[in-house]
């Protein structure tokens, strides 16, 4: 008999942003994520309360999923950022920090909520328009004739995660590999619809990063050293079969409930007979490679091996798609029917590769290969797992460049440049804009200040060692001044701006980011092709992040009540 509890009433929070508990938590989240931003970021150790494996990271894609709050308000923001990360991989921290800064600045400015929202929307449109326009001063066209910019883009992403603990040389090596692997996934022949291949990442612990390498084709792990089949020569092409169902010989998916079985019936041996029947067909059809996503019954394995077939089991779900793409095989999902002949796939060449403690089977396709394997090595697991995350992110960002071959200046320069542009633009059109948005000019300009400060806040977040952030008054790029440099030596110690495009010179003028400067139209650098930016950000990802952040902040500013069912 169940006991009835009295239902507790729902919890209602009025004006959540004015709630001290919520604003403290927002503040904490902002601090936490801000300290994860950029190449000199501080890392976070993630583990559960009873010890367990420790993950050391500064990636939003690892950190955000493990953060869960008792406040639905926080979870709302988190979910929205995570959604961006899952679509674009990059700029998650940018989006989160910008969003939280917008909320905080808007609250502090004392503007009415709906005015902030309208101004934010207006400015977002202004920014998007500028970024997508031809005369954008912080955009670089990517030239696919040279890999230079692609490598720069990759390197900016790889170097932005200090938990990888890479040296300069190692960063470059990984960036080059990432670009090489990406280029391998782009097919050469361009008839009809072009479909990109895939990079499969295999990680090997305990070796130097510089031993990491890219192979065209697929490397599949062969964990069981005991039953390695020796093979010398196989006729070309090699016929193969791919199973997606478990061949372990169990009846796993029978559902709940009791089953009554006659004592004399041996279900296991009956399934095994079925498996061996399958094995017989495979042998008759002259298959030489037998791959299964899940477990293969040892008796079946032995049978197949005794007929000279190479058996690979437990390849895992992640390998299945590239495997079908590479071999043209159709995964067989049942063991109860005959395998149709069109389900068989073909491989051009097989070879064994030994990498540290790992033995792997190298599959090469018949035609052109758009599948490649990126073998990543690092000295320990912590750094290796972060490196893996970073490489997958880089792959995604490089793919995005195919749709939109541009990149934005990195190192905080896009943010400061954009802020300067918005300030200049909105100053000139204040009267019209204010009337359109239905607010006073002062309110409008205050809203602009909120937006620009939030952008600059992101640029400043790159600095973690107490240094100062500056902006130059011609191109509005971002500069950092180390904490220990006196202001007299400023020119000498500035060197280059954040993205590396502008060099310091005596004629240049700077101002600190916190100070008010008279607005100006930031100049684009005119075609000096000798100077190449050193840090680039993904254009598509950042544009989306800007939108996601603004819209999430607007939503947060718009929330009047939180009603929580606590039962």
């Amino acid at each position: 008999m169940s006991r009835l509890d009295k239902k507790s009433p729902s919890l209602c929070t009025d004006r959540p942003l004015d709630n001290t508990d919520i604003s403290n938590k927002l503040n904490l989240l902002r601090q936490l994520l801000k300290s994860c931003f950029g190449p000199t970021a501080r890392l976070k150790q993630v583990h559960n309360n009873i010890g367990g494996h420790v993950v050391t990271t500064s990636s939003s894609s690892v950190l955000l999923p493990v953060i869960s709050s008792s406040q639905p308000f926080i979870n709302l923001i988190k979910a929205s950022i995570l959604n961006h990360v899952s679509r674009f991989s990059d700029c998650g921290l940018f989006a989160a920090i910008f969003c939280l800064a917008l909320i905080e600045q808007a609250k502090r400015s004392g503007l009415r909520g709906n005015v902030s929202i309208r101004v934010n929307k207006h400015l977002l449109a202004l920014c998007s328009g500028y970024l997508q326009g031809e005369d954008c001063g912080c955009k670089v066209k990517l030239d696919f004739c040279s890999s230079h910019n692609l490598i720069t883009l990759a390197r900016s992403i790889v170097s932005s995660k200090p938990a990888c603990v890479l040296t300069e040389q190692e960063t470059l090596h990984i960036s080059k590999l990432a670009v090489q692997a990406f280029l391998l996934t782009v097919p050469c022949s361009s008839s009809g619809t072009v479909s990109l291949g895939k990079i499969v990442t295999v990680s090997v612990e305990g070796y130097s990063v510089l031993t990491s390498v890219v192979f065209p084709g697929l490397l599949v792990d062969m964990p069981d050293g005991l039953c390695l089949t020796k093979f010398d020569y196989l006729s070309n092409p090699i016929r193969m079969v791919l199973f997606s169902t478990s061949l372990a010989g169990d009846l796993s998916d029978l559902g709940d409930g009791m089953i009554e079985v006659h004592a004399g019936v041996d279900t296991e041996s009956q399934i095994l007979d079925q498996l061996l029947e399958l094995g017989k067909q495979v042998v008759d059809d002259e298959v030489k490679l037998f791959v299964c996503q899940k477990v293969v019954h040892p008796v079946l394995q032995q049978y197949l091996r005794s007929h000279g077939i190479i058996v690979v089991e437990r390849v895992g779900i992640t390998i299945m798609e590239p495997l079908t793409q590479l071999t043209d095989a159709q995964p067989v999902a049942t063991l109860h029917t005959k395998i149709p002949s069109k389900a068989y796939g073909k491989v051009r060449e097989l070879s064994m590769k030994q990498f540290g403690s790992k033995t792997m089977l190298h599959l090469q396709p018949l035609g052109e290969s758009v599948i490649c394997t990126l073998l990543l090595c690092h000295r320990n697991e912590t750094m290796l797992s972060e490196l893996k995350v970073v490489c997958q992110k880089t792959e995604h960002v490089l793919r995005l460049t195919l749709r939109e071959p541009s990149a934005l200046l990195g190192g905080g320069c896009t943010e400061t440049h954009l802020a300067a542009y918005v300030r200049h633009k909105s100053k000139n059109e204040a009267p019209e804009a204010a009337s359109v948005l239905g607010c006073s000019q002062t309110e409008y300009l205050l809203g602009v200040e909120v937006f620009c400060r939030s952008l600059e806040f992101v640029a400043k977040a790159l600095q973690h060692d107490g240094g100062n952030s500056l902006i130059d008054l011609t191109h509005a790029h971002h500069w950092t001044l180390p904490a220990d440099v006196l202001e007299e030596h400023m020119e000498d110690s500035l060197g280059f701006c954040g993205c590396g495009l502008v060099e310091s010179s005596p004629s240049r003028k700077w101002t600190f980011l916190d100070t008010k400067y008279t607005e100006f139209l930031p100049l684009a650098l005119v075609g000096d092709s000798r100077v190449q930016p050193r840090v680039l950000d993904s254009f598509t990802a950042k544009l989306s992040a800007l939108q996601v952040a603004t819209e999430t902040a607007n939503l947060a500013l718009d929330v009047r009540y939180i009603i929580q069912d606590v039962n």
């Binding site: 050293g225 169990d250 009846l251 089953i259 004592a263 004399g264 899940k294 477990v295 697991e381 440099v485």
Partner: protein, 621 residues
């Protein structure tokens, strides 16, 4: 839920934890190791631990830094089996250096870049002062007089800096290859010399001389039976098995060809019956029981067996009858199982004079598969004629004659006439010491293995470290000088910090050597440091012989190093370290420091509303 601790940067708690944890490694360094008791207050159990990784393993570390340390040491131990003490000590020493830097207001970025540079310097020093194992063979043959030995030793340590005029005895591998390619040298150059194993092993024993003797014996037995290609002179660890026998004095440890296992009293009878016969053998990769299923097999839940007649025998009996029938049919007399065998199977097999050996290492199964032709199977029911191997043998090795214990007799199981396996029998009267002895054996075995694999060694007894310290300090001087000359230029601050960081890093290494010296029992901490600083000064004065450090751990009180080695050349045993192990341990130590140094918050998941009241310094999100 989320906990987050924002730390005060100048008092980095993570680094302090790391430094405190590293304290346990102090007694594990150097040739004279000390045992530690680890006691569980709850159940009163205790363990005796001698190596750093066993201590860390036994401590239940729940904090994030502790977990990180545990994972790092585990990973290192699994590959190298030695050097985890050095790893942990340096992680502690360098985390103190990093803390010191933070307290002086040096930014994290500066610390990291300077320390990375310092590590590059150390790695470079290691590469440059390697001693080729092949070169050592020559050295032993020709350099018998002590004077020449000294001279050579000096050359060995400096060979990289004088590559151009170095003689062929001290060439490292890459140079040797170059010469091989030249047709002028082809004819005259003799076959590559076999490294002098005894000499190398002595140098690598690091105080475990008795254990190292066992290793060398095992190695030589393997060499005899396997007749390896001499160009690939390796120590195949997978062919070595250990067998621990409690109750015998430690001098009884020995090396036996074949695979020695302990058997129970009733199985001993079977073994006596099978003694010195040619046997048919099967290999089971898994457990030998009717309930065992291969990995990944999901058992059916909620199955009820219904029957219309009373059955006399259970399923287990049916399975047993089938298996035994099969075994008898195939005339199998020996079964090696990688997992466990059920009691019933063992008993039934005993009655049919079939010997079942449990818990056999997979590498041993593989050797048996290779030499007897047997094919390992997962299920006994799967056995057929072509899975059976032949030519295996069982030999009673020693009757241990204990009355009550389960393991009564040690039996030697071999795969055919020329057994490829070697068993090292380790004995001790103190049961708790056996684990430590076994660890020690593997540490020594892997040291020899790595030496032959690297084909190079490092000068040991602190000489490599001293060389690194010397180079680091030179770099510190350099940065100080440039500081003076270029007062106002860009990056002055960074350069100044660089000097400080590198100096502290070198101090960490000095701390390491002096701790080892103190552990030898011949030095006080003060004296050790004094000796070290004098050596460093000496070496600065006489730049010509700058790289000739003496072996610090052997040195007697206060004697001058040069005098020492000239006066007692006979006693001066050359001590070596492993190249790859040292480099990897240092790198991992620094990686650990970097990861912790850069961390400013812990995110703890799964903290409930109720528990958080107990936690201080915790902010809930």
């Amino acid at each position: 839920m989320l906990e987050s601790t924002i730390l005060n940067h100048r008092q980095h708690v993570g680094l302090q934890k790391l430094s405190a944890l590293a304290g346990v490694s102090h007694s594990c360094l150097g040739p004279n190791k000390k045992y530690k008791f680890i006691q569980d207050d709850v159940c009163g159990e205790s363990a005796l631990a001698c190596s750093c990784f066993r201590i860390i393993e036994s401590l239940e570390l729940t904090c994030a830094v502790g977990q990180l340390v545990h994972e790092t040491i585990q990973a290192h131990q699994n590959v190298y089996h030695t050097g985890s003490g050095c790893l942990l000590f340096l992680a502690g020493a360098w985390s103190r250096a990093a803390l010191d830097c933070l307290q002086r207001g040096i930014s994290v970025a500066h610390i990291i870049s300077a320390m990375s540079e310092g590590m590059d310097v150390c790695m470079d020093v290691c590469r440059k002062c390697t001693i080729s194992t092949e070169g050592l063979a020559v050295k032993r043959d020709t350099a018998t007089s002590s004077g020449l030995q000294l001279q050579l030793a000096e050359k060995l340590t400096t060979n990289a800096s004088r590559v151009s005029n170095v003689n062929h005895k001290t060439l490292n591998i890459s140079e040797q290859r170059k010469i091989k390619l030249s047709r002028h040298f082809c004819e005259t150059k003799p076959q590559p010399q076999l490294p002098d194993i005894t000499h190398i092993a002595e140098g690598l024993s690091h105080g475990c001389d008795d254990t190292m003797t066992l290793v060398v014996e095992a190695f030589q037995r393997l060499l005899k039976t396997n007749q390896q290609d001499t160009s690939q002179f390796m120590f195949d660890i997978s062919k070595v098995v250990t067998c621990v026998l409690p109750g015998l004095p430690e001098q009884h440890a020995c090396v036996v060809p074949g695979c020695v296992v302990l058997l129970s009293a009733e199985q001993t009878l079977v073994a006596h019956h099978l003694n010195e016969q040619h046997l048919k053998v099967v290999l089971i990769n898994g457990d030998l029981s009717d309930t065992y299923r291969h990995l990944g097999f999901k058992r059916l839940k909620g199955v009820q067996r219904v029957s219309d007649q009373l059955s006399a025998s259970s399923r287990e009996d049916e399975w047993l009858a089938k298996v035994v029938g099969l075994l008898l049919n195939l005339e199998v007399k020996l079964i090696l199982v990688s997992g466990l065998a059920s009691e019933k199977v063992i008993q039934r097999c005993c009655t049919h004079h079939v010997l079942v050996v449990e818990k056999v290492k997979v590498s041993v199964l593989k050797t048996f598969a290779d030499s007897t032709g047997a094919i390992p199977v997962t299920y006994a029911t799967q056995l057929s004629k072509h899975c059976v191997g032949s030519g295996a043998g069982v030999k009673i090795w020693r009757d241990l004659g204990s009355h009550d214990s389960k393991s009564a007799t040690a039996v030697n199981v071999s795969a055919g006439m020329s057994s490829e396996l070697v068993t090292v029998v380790l004995t001790s009267c103190v049961h708790g010491k056996l684990q430590a002895l076994e660890d020690q054996f593997w540490a020594c075995a892997y040291r020899l293995h790595h030496a032959l694999k690297d084909r190079a060694l490092l000068p040991g007894a602190g000489r490599t470290e001293m060389l690194c310290i010397h180079h680091l300090k030179q770099l510190v001087e350099c940065s100080r000088e440039t500081n003076h000359s270029q007062q106002t230029t860009r990056g002055t601050a960074a350069n100044h910090y660089r000097g400080v960081v590198l100096h502290l890093m070198a101090e960490g290494l000095i701390d390491y050597i002096s701790t080892v010296m103190v552990n030898t029992g011949r030095f006080s901490k003060v004296k050790a440091r004094m000796v070290l600083s004098r050596q460093l000064q000496n070496c600065n004065k006489h730049l010509g012989i700058s790289e000739n450090f003496s072996q610090l751990f052997l040195e007697d009180d206060g004697e001058d190093s040069a005098v020492f080695s000239e006066m007692k050349p006979v006693e001066a045993l050359e001590i070596y370290d492993n190249l790859s192990v040292k480099q990897e341990a240092w790198r991992k130590a620094l990686d650990l420091v970097f990861l912790v140094l850069q961390t400013d918050a812990e995110v703890i998941t799964g903290v409930g509303q109720k528990t958080d009241a107990a936690l201080e310094n915790v902010t809930l999100l």
